[in-house]
């Protein structure tokens, strides 16, 4: 990750790509294709990742209808890793509600990035969203910065850290000491304090639960990377969100 002006975003702003680093790489795709049936949905389908000036999978803020928009944030589930844009739950919810949307979702990031980008959003964009959807990532993730002052990039850390590394031991210690319980509550409280708009919390069933009122993304199928949740899963989440906010 990196700072793209005031926001944290992917280090490939204004790029259009067919594959990503990590689970949805071209190399893994070709490997996965060998194990899938001949009619696999993704076999001959082009998947486009289009990133804006901040490295977010979204239109630029200047192109958003700020009088009629909803805001999403979260990790790779919300960014839609392994999914066509039209199949992601943010796209589907916005379509059904007949409004524009912005997606702050960033793969591999944690609750610190969610909080950071939301604060920056409310500082930068004066018009409030009609609704804010926060998909809180696994609370053990965090952004680290190397001690080398010349190394300016922000590194996503999480349970994928090497066992017995300082990072891994830090994550275990943060869990056992109650540090993570404090962090996640502080981040949540601050956002609810400043958001001044309706907020819905979304949880991914693969992560630690965030709060009891969350609407969950359950695994019903798999995305192109055979790791993230697929089209049917996102459709179901979009339907659940819509039924919860439309009276």
């Amino acid at each position: 990750m990196q700072f793209n002006k005031n926001f944290i975003g992917n280090p490939w702003p204004n790029k259009i790509m067919n594959f990503l680093w990590g689970t949805d790489s071209q190399e893994l795709y070709l490997k996965n294709a060998e194990t899938q049936p001949t009619d696999w949905y993704y076999r001959d389908r082009e998947l486009i990742y289009s990133y804006n000036e901040y490295g977010h999978r979204s239109k630029n803020i200047s192109d958003i209808d700020l009088d009629n928009y909803i805001l999403f944030t979260g990790c790779s589930h919300t960014e839609g890793v392994g999914l066509e844009l039209e199949k992601t739950y943010p796209y589907q919810v916005a379509q059904k509600l007949g409004c524009d949307y912005y997606n702050l979702g960033l793969g591999g990031t944690g609750i610190d990035v969610v909080e950071h980008n939301l604060i920056q959003w409310f500082l930068t964009v004066q018009k409030k969203p009609k609704h804010l959807f926060i998909q809180w990532p696994d609370h053990s993730r965090f952004i680290s910065q190397n001690n080398n002052p010349r190394y300016t990039n922000l590194v996503e850390e999480g349970t994928w850290a090497k066992p017995n590394s300082e990072t891994f031991r830090f994550i275990v210690g943060a869990e056992e000491s109650g540090f993570n319980f404090a962090r996640k509550e502080l981040y949540k409280r601050l956002i609810l304090e400043i958001a001044n708009c309706p907020v819905t919390t979304v949880g991914a069933s693969s992560n630690m639960p965030y709060d009891s009122s969350s609407i969950y993304l359950f695994q019903k199928d798999l995305a192109r990377d055979l790791s993230h949740f697929g089209n049917i899963s996102h459709r179901a989440l979009a339907d659940d969100i819509l039924s919860s906010i439309i009276v």
Binding site: L123, F142, Q145, T167, F170, G178, L190
Partner: protein, 207 residues
């Protein structure tokens, strides 16, 4: 620690704090048209002294200004970020100056699964010391401070005066911040240095 009016404060039971858990007058009595905002931790609290002998009181008195002290004992960057962001979103009336003083920037706040309490971690506990050590090595604290400073940079346009104690980490890392070296616990010396610097700069700013 407690949360009142969207701000994080110290435990109120000690009798040292106002109803928000801050070592200053009540929020409702603050003159929002003419005030200085103090942010930080133990350094700004000087709990072993009567409030009239602490540098926040002395500086505000010298500058004929009201003040509010958002500092939380051992709150670290998490409490500083929380309170500053919340304050700036809550109050449109900006302070004349922010004065920052911090003893343990990398302090850790802990809680339980149901968040029935919030408190600073006990550094006598070996597990907390190891957590702190690993957090340093793996870059967690650097990352936390970097993210917070990126927010502060875009949030705060008020002049920031930062008291720099020997071997203590600064809250603010921006070049916009005015750093002033001071001796820890020298309340009068700190008050004089900061007041003089603020007076000097406000005089320079006049046409």
């Amino acid at each position: 620690m407690q949360f009142v009016d969207g701000l994080m404060g110290n435990d109120p039971d000690t009798g040292l704090y106002n109803s928000n858990g801050h070592r200053c007058k009540e929020l409702s009595e603050l003159n929002l048209q003419n005030y200085i905002l103090f942010v930080g931790d133990n350094a700004n609290l000087a709990l072993d002294l009567p409030i009239e002998k602490t540098y926040p009181y002395l500086i505000a008195n010298e500058l004929k200004s009201d003040y509010y002290n958002l500092s939380v004992f051992n709150g670290g960057m998490d409490s500083i970020r929380y309170n500053l962001v919340s304050w700036y979103f809550k109050f449109k009336q900006r302070p004349k100056a922010i004065i920052a003083g911090c003893e343990f920037l990398n302090s850790i706040i802990v809680s339980d699964t149901d968040n029935t309490y919030f408190k600073s971690a006990d550094y006598n506990d070996d597990a907390i010391q190891e957590l702190s050590h690993n957090g340093n090595i793996c870059g967690f604290f650097n990352g936390r401070n970097e993210l917070a400073n990126n927010i502060f940079y875009h949030l705060i346009y008020t002049p920031i005066y930062q008291i720099r104690f020997k071997e203590k980490l600064p809250i603010f890392t921006s070049e916009k911040v005015i750093d002033i070296k001071c001796e820890f616990n020298d309340q009068v010396g700190i008050a004089t240095s900061i007041s003089n610097e603020i007076k000097k700069r406000s005089t320079q700013a006049r046409p």
